[in-house]
Symmetry: C2
Subunit: 488 residues, 2 copies
């Protein structure tokens, strides 16, 4: 493993560090880059405390070739997952085994099947995706982009990432990085607020009825509410489209389907009945988001409706690890994309194995047991915090019945490039060795026949974590928002 650059981040004396931190902290406050600390007591009164989102003091150096490649292939990844979600037969095969051992996936799949039986009234889907990568350090060549996962639901942090990119650029411009002056052209543009919102707005237009609204399905006590709010403000100010926020557990009190066309009707706080064009899920990806049958009924009613879903249930399921594992198998990807296009995508794949009870699964199990330190075990879950790493895997596997193994995929460990940075989290600074995870946002609007109305790479997220922490999700408090400075 090697670092990209020895003299970065720059050394700052006490005065310079004070200047940098005071500039950074005020910028954070003026631009609302904060997480919400919620307490139920405050909640009732709408007065909350806030703290800066975990973030890095310096932007990270990132190899230009890898960054550009990640952006260049995003539209093809968008298409790939749109086509996977369109392929009922393929998805049916993937689900076949999973539904028997994973109750959460079964419930989602059942919603899809039930709505299919009744008739899908909205052929158009909106995907706000994010493809996440690590940079694999190599001995001889430049670092390689390796895909960690592909998110098809609730891809968050788009607003904060865009704002922190701007902030690092600003801090550099005003000389807050001391004698280190990074060239402005090496700070890549990060327009994710604009581009993610554009996707929602285009879906709204495509829905075809005037004066319809967008519904954000959100979690109560969401620490990242300010990240979501920026999209709402941009939607309203730039596109003139209003969004309402609703919790999954209470939405049934406010919605119903119009009998003739299953239009999703929403009762606003002013008791006005509004037609909903797009339902945007910022929750619903974890079993914890469905504590009772109420949430499941809500999800079913939305799925049945004429509103464009971001995402549909089947698109959400296309993002499960099992699909990622199958797409990594030789030539499967060519079912969806021609060879000349799929080639670049496949270069980002690492080996992923199923722990099935068949011959290939037994082979994978042997590989694992011989070198557990080379693997990560991942369940079919979004949102981080669920993975088992390296030497912990054998012990873990002993605790579950063999039949349960199939719900996990076994992924080759990526040995990421290291650099150093200073992380600001919980009102403390930590100077430490870090790993960068690059996420590229992608927005796609397509229909059941494979027609594509909008397909764009839509900005990026750089998350940086202490090298000794294993999880990448900012949500669970281990990862910090960062931005890229491109280097050769």
């Amino acid at each position: 493993m090697k670092t990209i650059c020895k003299n970065y981040p720059p050394f700052l004396d006490k005065n310079q560090q004070d200047f940098l931190i005071s500039e950074l902290m005020d910028y954070i406050q003026v631009h609302g880059i904060n997480i919400r600390i919620t307490h139920s007591e405050q909640d009732k009164k709408h007065f909350f405390n806030h703290q800066n989102v975990p973030l890095t003091l310096f932007p990270s150096l990132f190899p230009s070739i890898a960054f550009k490649k990640a952006k260049a292939i995003q539209c093809d990844f968008n298409k790939l997952y749109a086509f996977v979600a369109n392929d009922e037969e393929f998805m049916c095969q993937v689900m076949e085994n999973l539904v028997n051992i994973d109750d959460f996936i079964k419930k989602l799949w059942d919603i899809h099947l039930e709505v299919k039986k009744k008739g899908i009234v909205q052929p158009i889907s909106l995907g706000i995706f994010r493809s996440d990568y690590l940079l694999e350090a190599t001995q001889n060549s430049s670092p390689q982009l390796k895909q960690v996962e592909f998110n098809t639901i609730a891809s968050s942090m788009g607003s904060f990432s865009s704002k922190i990119s701007e902030m690092h650029k600003y801090l550099n411009s005003i000389g807050a990085y001391g004698s280190c002056i990074l060239k402005e052209e090496n700070f890549p543009k990060n327009d994710s607020i604009k581009l993610l919102t554009e996707g929602l707005a285009n879906a709204n237009r495509l829905y075809g009825e005037k004066n319809t609204k967008i519904l954000f399905i959100v979690e109560p006590h969401d620490s990242f509410i300010l990240d979501q709010r920026c999209l709402e403000y941009e939607l309203f100010q730039v596109h003139g489209i209003q969004a309402y926020r609703v919790f999954l557990h209470s939405i049934l009190d406010f919605i119903e389907l119009r009998q003739n066309d299953k239009a999703l009707l929403f009762k606003s706080p002013n008791s006005k009945i509004e037609e909903i064009s797009v339902v945007y899920f910022r929750t619903g990806y974890s079993p914890n988001h469905y504590p009772s049958s109420i949430e499941w009924s809500a999800r079913l009613l939305i799925e049945e409706s004429r509103a464009i879903k971001c995402p549909t249930v089947i698109t959400q399921l296309a993002g499960c690890k099992k699909v990622q594992q199958i797409l990594c198998k030789k030539n499967i990807i060519n079912k969806f994309l021609p060879e000349n296009i799929s080639k670049s995508l496949k270069e980002t794949f690492v080996s992923i194995y199923a722990l099935n009870r068949d011959l290939s699964g037994q082979e994978a199990y042997r590989l694992l047991m011989n070198n557990p330190q080379n693997y990560i075990l991942k369940p079919q879950r979004e949102g981080g915090g669920n993975n088992i790493y390296g030497l912990n895997i054998p012990t873990f596997l002993k605790t579950i019945p063999e039949s349960q193994r199939e719900q996990y995929i076994l992924m080759e460990m990526i040995h990421p490039l290291l650099q150093t940075n200073t992380i600001i989290q919980n009102n403390e600074l930590h100077h430490t060795n870090v790993i960068n995870e690059l996420g590229i946002y992608g927005v796609i609007l397509w229909n059941k026949n494979g027609e594509i109305y909008h397909n764009k790479e839509s900005g990026y997220l750089l998350r940086t974590k202490d090298k000794d922490k294993n999880e990448g999700g900012v949500m669970i408090g281990c990862s910090s928002i960062d931005s890229c400075v491109l280097v050769p």
Copy 2:
């Protein structure tokens, strides 16, 4: 006294109120409309707590004629005070008595005299002014605009007022005011961030040297730092001009005058020597800001320099109450402005008296003693918190020697129009009767010969206070930031 409109603000049911408050509080957070709660412990580490600035839930109704008049006469008020500051002889007369009884004013005036003796090297001044008004309720005609004071130094809240105007307009657009839908064209534009910054940028250009910077002189532990920061960001992003922030008590460590031309040189946190084009005071208007001779030496050094001052000492002194009182005397204003222009300005004046020991002062004293409830006693101070009201005046005057009376002016009480509103302050909501104070910002750039380079009305500030509180300054926690909806 009458309210303008009976059905405003609208009644909201529980759902509607919850919706409004949650929309408002999130908007505040995303847009950084917060005051800083400082503790010395946190201060060292740059981690602070913040709380929403006191603000109103609803915009206030404001008579269109009065609003437009206040805007229309601002440029003439700018000129008036610029010309007063240019008139050495006039200012000398005003100061003559004051310097003997007001040590703060004496020290400021001494700086002016000392610099004048050495030779004024910068003929150009920048004024960022604010003229504050109450609306006087009348029995028969529409409410009359009455000037409370004219601020010539550290006119603050420009950024927050601009943001809160946008916020009220947004809340109205998304239906957060329930069935009450205010017409968008009745929300006057409030571009104070843009316009105040434009003044600083034009002064920078007029200074005439390339790559010069602007210096903000600020207070430590300033609760309103986020209001100032917005001007810095706008300066940098729109005009490419960097500003540095320095405390008056520490500035001598960082500045010196270049021998040949008295250019103000500033040592940046990176130890780079930067030439300063404009010094913008956001402090320095109260004796509390000069706890030792260090601050006075700093003020003197800045005044001596070639940098354009916002404001110069004499411009600051032109804003003292004594000048306001003298300008209210019959025909004095015509010394500075022609009759046809001064007429509209004079219409906003209330009677103001000096408590001199001459005949007119004795007459004013008699007026006061007969009807103390009709008067306010004001010292020569900015920033609120220093006035004595109505029936408290006679008792107060007994506590000071007669010779000291001259440092006060006696101002006729304005009987302001009342309306109701809900104030959000200290995490509580208060629905109450309120008084509105309208401030119009004005920016003027002029030189000692009376040439004017820039003269613009530059946005507004509406401050709203509980009718039973006597002070208007947001700074002292009694007043809330509001915005106007114009009504016939």
